[in-house]
């Protein structure tokens, strides 16, 4: 009999988790307008999942190479603040301001990649350090009043703020950020599955030595994953500031956690070499659904962090146990059936 392969099973589990959560909240909160299950609320969930999902594309790449990037939250604040400076102190057009922000993100990603891949500083500690550096830089360049007190910079010109709203501008329309999410996920998945770069990401994550022996430039692949994360994070920052119509130093405080959480729930194993962008999208939707449902239930929002944490522990535990089981099955299969 054909056995189900690990990736397929893992996908079913994350989709199943999302379905169960939706069913649960529908039962607890109910369907219909103002309740949980209605078009408007579902769209709100997708919108909330969008920024973590977009950043998640890059984070997925990094985790597939068995790395981690903890600095994305601080990067959002820094990118937002760079754009705020351009907005406040120059007369440059909005598209140039956005490009400057994206460039800042690329630089941050490049810096992460450089210290991790070139200087061989462990990912966890390296990006923990840049997480602190990026946030500090955001404070340093923040817009201040005459007394040196940081103030939030409003960025409410309609040429920019429209990115934070919906196509057509009505509250029932499709938010631009959701369109961006779809584009990022589709392109991200194609690159991962259908290009050498994508295959190389898996190879680097699963077995660096084997990758090197196959002529893959491991250093370059790892670097690229971080640069792409920088790009995705910058795009996330653009949509976040456009929606808030302002930039503050506190931007993205929860965003080092949520893309990683989305990836992990979606089946991107922290040990590297498995998972994909679609999985991360499912994970991001799961997290957004959880937040939304907890809010609708009028529960203390602090609970959602407890639930998130517990779910992540369970999922990682499942992955570890499952991997062990698969390794054992591979061995036993060899012992019992030979090669048939």
């Amino acid at each position: 009999m054909k056995e189900m392969n690990q990736t397929t099973l893992r996908r079913l589990i994350s989709v199943g988790l999302l379905a169960i959560l939706i069913a649960l909240f529908t039962a607890m909160v109910g369907a219909g307008s103002g309740k949980f299950l209605n078009a408007e609320n579902l769209m709100a969930i997708v919108r909330d999942a969008s920024v973590p999902g977009i950043i998640g594309v890059g984070v997925t790449y990094v985790i597939i190479t068995s790395g981690i990037d903890l600095s994305t939250g601080s990067m959002i604040a820094l990118v937002g603040m760079v754009m705020a400076n351009v907005y406040a102190y120059t007369l440059l057009p909005i598209p140039v301001m956005i490009l400057t922000g994206i460039l800042a993100g690329l630089l941050c990603g490049f810096f992460n990649g450089f210290i991790v891949a070139k200087l061989e500083i462990p990912e966890f500690i390296g990006t923990l350090a840049t997480m602190s550096v990026f946030r500090a830089l955001a404070y340093i360049i923040a817009i201040k009043d005459a007394n040196g007190v940081i103030m939030s910079q409003p960025m409410n010109v309609s040429q920019y703020a429209f990115l934070g709203s919906t196509i057509g501008g009505s509250s029932k329309g499709i938010p631009y950020v959701c369109v961006a999410l779809v584009i990022f996920v589709v392109v991200g998945q194609i690159v991962l599955r259908y290009t050498r770069f994508g295959t190389n990401l898996y190879a680097v994550g699963a077995n660096k030595k084997a990758a090197t022996l196959s002529g893959i430039n491991v250093e370059r692949i790892r670097m690229m994953a971080f640069v792409i994360t920088g790009f995705c994070t910058a795009v996330g920052a653009v949509f976040t500031t456009a929606r808030l119509q302002s930039a503050t130093t506190a931007l993205g405080t929860d965003f080092e956690f949520s893309p990683i959480a989305a990836a992990v729930v979606g089946g991107v194993a922290l040990s590297g070499g498995s998972g994909d962008v679609v999985g991360t999208l499912i994970g991001a939707l799961f997290m957004a659904t959880l937040e939304n449902g907890v809010r609708k239930l009028d529960m203390n929002t602090a609970y959602q962090y407890v639930i998130k944490g517990v779910i992540i522990i369970c999922v990682v535990m499942f992955d570890a146990v499952y991997k062990k089981r698969m390794d054992r099955i591979a061995k036993e299969k060899g012992a019992k059936e030979g090669l048939e």
């Binding site: 259908y194 077995n207 990758a211 196959s214 061995k331 060899g334 090669l339």
Partner: protein, 510 residues
Amino acid sequence: MAENNVILEAKGIYKSFSGVSVLQDVHFSVDRGEVHALMGENGAGKSTLIKIITGVYSKDQGQIYWEGKPVEINNYQDCQKLGVACIYQELSVIPPLTVAQNVFLGREPRKAGKIIDYKKMNQMTQELIDKYEFPLKPTTVVDNLGIGQRQLIEILKGLSQNSKLLIMDEPTASLSGKEAEMLFKIINTLRKQGVSIIYISHRLEEVYMLSDRLTILRDGKNAALLEKHEIIPAKVIETMIGKVVDESSGSKKMLQSKGGDVRLDVRGLTDKTDRFRNISFQVHKGEILGFGGLIGAGRTELVRAIYGIDKPISGEVYLDGEKMVNPSPKKSIDMGIGFVPEDRRNHGFIPLLSTTKNVALTNYDILKKNGLAVSDKDELDMSKRAIQAIDIRPSDPDKQVGVMSGGNQQKVVLGKWLMRDLRLLIVDEPTAGIDVGAKDEIYSILEDLASKGVAVIVVTSDLQELLRVSHRILVMRKGDIVKEFKNEVVTQSMVLSAGQGVTEDKEAAE
């Protein structure tokens, strides 16, 4: 044989490591479409020779010829370019990718826009699979495959790069019987297609069955080059060990059983993954029991299970008549069992810590406490006693164990067990990579322990050592105990023959 039929030739290869000569004037040549086996005892220089051919080591002297032309191989890429592929024992396949993705990793065929042409790639893989008759499908994800099939992917990968010579180092070591049979079939197909293979193995029956010629190395020199009809088990074993068989060299010994009551009683122990099955034996007080056999015969797995690291699927272990329930290393230590693991550096000690701390680590339960903290003085005292007992020179208790010589490191590992009231000590490959002087000292330590009534189990692949220390010898082969030697004269050939599964014939015992 005609000159142009030789694909690889190594002439007059010399290599030494820090003054110690490892290869001396070694000649080795492989013909097109030939399976050429390479044998020799541990340390005979097989892997050094292969590492020189694959560019991992540089040679001191000599020349390598590829298809008759002199070549320089400075790294693995060089040798890949020539058409040599090495099938590593530690597999380097990428589990989340498919068979085809693994085979063409880094060389995927692409369509316009840099998109991988999966159709073409799967088709190319299928062609290779058909040509060499591999039992694989291009689109299977490697995750779902057994170890044997993963190995075949490595071979396929080599073939996809038009390799003309495959080097297989102990390819059957981690394969089951059926997987190995499949591999042999494929090796035969490859030979018919003109692919040459260097086959390194300790298993005589495989070499006997597969190879066209056999080169035997001994002490870094060519000992023999045998044609297929000359490959006779007894002769091969004799050549590997060396013909000079006299008692002083430790190749022959009169075994004498020693010891009192039964200390350890193992009944029907069977491994989960079938690496050993239905093993029963006893060890007596004051006895040194040696375990012989080939690498991969299941000896290490067996002693790990007795010590409580791995859980066996069935069977019982009794220590002094008391049944061990739910064994674990902690319980074993509490019951007076010591364990010196095979992989000294990774499992035996903590390299960054001092002798004192390493000795203390296993013995915190018996060290005196000042309130909750361990008494530094007592810790140091114990370390000094250990250093004295095992004679570590220079005797610096604060020295990091990681920077000591192999011999001293092993002494520290032994020393920490000597501080306890041991009933049974298990040592796995106690002197691997240790110089001769220190070896003797380690043997005396083991003998001392035995004379004090401790039961000792020694697992070793070094035949000389096995004969030197054992009072009784059990030989394992493919997970079974196949032979017991006691109260009789035993030679290295007899042990080796038993481990190889060569039918007992008396001339080998001469």
